[in-house]
């Protein structure tokens, strides 16, 4: 019988449930997050056009670099100003 020490961080991540997917975007504000990958803006420009055509309110955001997690202030801003968010990868 072997007894060993746990090599992991021994913590259990807190699970934060996602907001339920809305049935319609009508009346909601959609955040568009560009992660700064090349040409992500092209994808988001097109999405923005199509959302505006449908009369949906859009707000644009951009991460300083795709190589690092979004700064906490940016995440907070998006969460307070938007109901849903679309994040663009691309390349």
């Amino acid at each position: 019988m072997t007894k060993v020490l746990d090599p992991t961080n021994e913590t259990k991540p807190t699970e934060i449930p996602r907001v339920a997917r809305p049935a319609s975007l009508k009346g909601l504000t959609v955040g568009l997050l560009d992660i700064s990958k090349p040409r992500g803006n092209r994808f988001l420009d097109r999405i923005e056009e199509r959302l505006i055509e449908q009369g949906i309110k859009v707000k644009r955001f951009k991460k300083p670099t795709f190589t690092k997690p979004a700064p906490v202030d940016l995440r907070h801003e998006i969460s307070t100003k938007c109901d849903v968010v679309i994040e663009a990868l691309a390349d």
């Binding site: 019988m1 007894k3 060993v4 020490l5 746990d6 961080n9």
Partner: protein, 482 residues
Amino acid sequence: MTRLEAPPLPEGLVAFVKRDCPTCELVEGVLADIAKSANITVYSQDDPNFPSGLHNLVDDKDLFFSWHHEIETVPTLLKVASDGETSRIVGWDRAIWEEFTGLKNLGPDIAPFRPGCGSLSVDPNLASYLEAKFSGSSLIGRRIEFAALEDSHEAMFDRGWTDGLPVVAPTEQRVLSMLAGTSRLPSEIIASVPPDLTPCTVEKIAINAVMAGCKPEYLPIVLAAVEAVCNETFNMHGLLATTMPHAPVLVVNGPIAEQIGMNSSGNAFGQGNRANSTIGRAVQLVVRNVGGGRPGGVDRAALGSPAKVGFCFAEREADSPWEPISTMYGFPKGTNTVLAFPGEAPHNITDQISRDPESLARTFAINLLGIQHPKLVLMFDAILAVTPDHSRIFAEAGWSRERLTDRIIELSIRPGKDLVRGANGIAEGISADLQELDLPKFRQGGLHIVHCGGGAGLFSAIIGGWVNGDMGSTPVCVEITP
């Protein structure tokens, strides 16, 4: 007053002090005065150079003596005879100290009385740990018991603790032995490990170092390396998450490399040397197990690389024509350091014909252009590992590292019109607005020339870097402390 099996104290007067105690600082001069006429040994809990001016000064940073002799207050002054302690006093009181030591006129210019401070050995944050360490009963980490019929190797694979290779079971005894490799307290937090940014103690690193196959004397390097890769500017989160294949590449400098038997010579990047093979692996296991970074999880590498199992080597300093690479980061030659470089697996350069430095510099430059893509410049740093058969050519011609670096960068300059997207029939490239500029392959400080390898062979190697600077990662060099 003294625990069973306490280590003996030297005969005469013995004092326990810590620098972080105003009373101990107050009596610094008194202790030096006592030492002039009496036999006194001072055990220092937090600074091996405090108090100054004493010959018999013992470093008790691990609190081994303080804990065993149940020191509760500093300063504590003890009288020790051949069969052990006979009496002790605590704090500072001139009259009591004079009576205790039999000396007159102690500290005439300082306050006559000052209570002491708590001994570090009874610090509430450390007490349970010291108990565990010195009473041999337990460490802080959670115990996991495998069932009698469970194969421990399989059990560790099943729990997701391994990188795919077998690991050594981190039993309490092995972890305690590993911890003997450092004077740092096991409860000390070394870094927050990405991606989960979990605070990581010396003990957790020691557990993973056992699993990786390290010897205790490697632990100080592993600790420094964890500190380096978890530095924010190194951006371990991004390096792990990237679809590119890069990983921390560790370069060790200083006498410690030879002391622990690292390989900086023949096959330095290869198999067969325990320190080279296990130090980098231990760091990767810490990222995996403590940080929570796993392939398919936050690690999104499209191809990865064998360097991701662990890639660590030492610079060949002994006969290097150049100063150690750590001097690029401001450390004087002879300092034990580890450089964390965000790199990929090595790529060999063959030049068996060049015998003059200019020709060989041209070989290096033309090969270095290929990192990631010959049309992408200034975005990626590199390690250029130069072997003795190649470095000799520069040594004989008196080329310093700076001269070679500058020449390679100069030779790598190309007109922007050849590099822009679409040029030479290749869509990949730099953006069109740079086409009027002449651009070198490397940014300032981006090319790292390291001396290593050995035996015969007119080869060198390139370890290409990941995206550099604020957008990606900056190499980090950290001093290795005992």
